[in-house]
């Protein structure tokens, strides 16, 4: 068995819109190894969720117009697989924790039965077995009184509980890959820590790989082996976690790190990257980040930088990565 679990090559997603097709994910390459946690961070709206939906084969059409590229999972190109095969993978080998837990739970069924289902789709389990396991899962994700909660409907749960139900659901079949789309946004830090530990345990015992989409760079720092940084539909930097924090080579990543509010220290005005996200229907020429970049030169306006490998595993898409790297070397 190869080490590579998932290999995304040249993923491109276009949506139809009144102003013509817009490309929300452009030519994205990355891979995930077995048992590895890969962080995916980036600007809100840069295409993280869409990319993960593409992996799941769940991009709705309409509005999707085109999904290009290849998604290799265990030697199979998911984009070319039959529906039935995809179905047997989904929830079983790859599962996803959705970002929006309220609208992602079926309001007409109890949360318990929705977790049961995740198992019943792929395993032959008795309904009471499934129930026991579901309650166990609910307990694992830190929901109190799971026997009662099992019978409740989504609207009766708090935001964080719903999110944990989603997580429990994703864990139900011990998948090989979990795509966690902001799995802990609604959780307090103690529960968050508990969940992250849980995921970590899973990784150790089942070699589960995780794609962790998050905005919380603390979470990234704590859990991820590698990080992908996305901006405007493209991957702009990829590096092992420590490398990313210590030797940031992309101006956008740099900006992100600078924006983190600090728990310690005096209150200062928070930094934020100047300017705003480009309009997808009207992407800037050259490097997509250049209008907001303090390093930008005329070259950046003209030519789209290629993605370059600086050191093994550290790849950047910037004309000025050397300069930035020099500034940031040394880290914290």
């Amino acid at each position: 068995m190869s080490k590579r679990l998932l290999d995304v090559k040249g993923l491109t997603v276009q949506f139809d819109s009144p102003v013509g097709p817009i490309e929300v994910v452009s030519d994205v390459h990355f891979h995930v190894n077995r048992g590895e946690t890969v962080g995916l961070v980036g600007e809100s709206g840069c295409g993280k969720s869409v990319s993960s939906l593409a992996i799941m084969g769940l991009i709705p059409s309409p509005p999707a117009k085109k999904i290009g590229g290849e998604i290799w999972f265990q030697d199979k190109n998911l984009l070319a697989e039959s529906r039935d095969h995809l179905r047997s993978i989904r929830g079983n080998k790859i599962s996803m924790i959705f970002q929006d837990p309220m609208s992602s739970l079926d309001p007409a069924f109890t949360v318990g039965s929705q977790i049961d289902e995740a198992m019943q789709f792929h395993q032959k389990v008795q309904s009471n077995e499934a129930k026991d396991r579901s309650i166990e899962l609910l307990r694992l994700v830190g929901i109190s009184n799971p026997e009662l909660r099992y019978h409740e409907y989504p609207h009766q749960l708090s935001g964080g509980m719903r999110q944990r139900v989603m997580i429990a659901m994703a864990l139900a079949c011990n998948p090989q890959l979990i795509i966690a789309d902001e799995p802990t946004t609604a959780l307090d830090v103690t529960v968050q820590a508990q969940i992250l530990d849980l995921l970590n345990d899973l990784r150790q015992s089942f070699e589960t790989a995780i794609i962790m989409i998050t905005h919380d760079l603390g979470v990234v720092a704590e859990t991820c082996d590698r990080v992908l940084v996305m901006y405007a539909g493209q991957i702009v930097e990829e590096a092992p976690t420590e490398v990313l924090f210590d030797r940031t080579a992309h101006p956008y990543t740099e900006g992100l790190l600078k924006s983190i509010p600090k728990v310690s220290g005096a209150k200062v005005k928070l930094y934020s990257i100047p300017g705003s996200v480009p309009n997808q229907s009207d992407m800037p020429k050259g490097c997509r980040f250049h209008p907001r970049c303090s390093y930008a030169t005329s070259r950046c306006q003209e030519q789209d930088p290629p993605i370059e490998e600086l050191t093994p595993g550290h790849r950047v898409k910037c004309w000025h990565s050397d300069q930035i790297l020099r500034r940031n070397r040394g880290g914290v």
Partner: protein, 322 residues
Amino acid sequence: MTAIPLLELTDLKKYYPIRQGLLRKQKGYVKAVDGVSFNLFPGETFGLVGESGCGKSTLGRVIVQLMEATAGEIRFGQKNVASMSAKEKQAFRRQVQMIFQDPFSSLNPRQKIGDILEEPYSIHSKHSKQEREEKAAALLRRVGLDPLHAERYPHQFSGGQRQRIGIARALALNPQLIVCDEPVSALDVSIQSQIINLLEELQEESGVSLLFIAHDLSVVKHISHRIAVMYLGSIVEMATAEELFLNPQHPYTRTLLSSIPAEHPRLKRERITLVGEIPNPANPPIGCKFHTRCPYVEDICKRDVPVLKEISGHAVACHLIK
């Protein structure tokens, strides 16, 4: 800070009935908010943190009068909210806004973003259509979205974008109080900073008060003047932001602070992990609600309910703090 509070909560309670079975018989209550009291002053940001499911959103919803409190009193601008006249209520509705925790379901799927953002103006002011459109566009810019997005529908946005739409809508009327239920949870740090800066600017300009519910403690710390920590429906500790982070007293607060993820992969924090189950809000433990998981538990904790005691602006509800 003036001495007259904008919002006063006195022993506020909200219980949800639990119904089960085919006939939905009532079987007790979830005590989502169980005796919460605090004051919020004009121009103040009051951070509210706590375990998931401890009743923060419920508290927020009760404050904005989406639900009636089971017991207790809410006074806004010194008026009891429950006995407001229709006119006062309308003014209240204008002055108090909410940013919902779940941005998507709080947006009407059939309305364009532009219309959603124009709505507060068409409710409360007599602007022309054109003025409203301009104001909506300005709002979009302020939260870092493109005015062209006005033509789109909610489902065409990413999670963070939707959240910003919710924020923009709450800002529209320059309210006096905004209940922010996890307003920045789905935003990347850069935009998060932008939004927080925006809120702070607004506060400086107009003196808006914020009830800021969040899980990201660094954010809460940054933005709040005072912070309250909630556990299972009640406030267990309340102090200024600085004080709370420097000198956390309640065991739960300490646990919480210790669980903040490190900012750098090489920094590993000493984390206090809680043992024991999270108790059931329908049947909370007798005595101190935290005693089942508290590392310092003593006999008295299992017997008596600790009250929130204030010592020089730092209030704690714990028997062990003298």
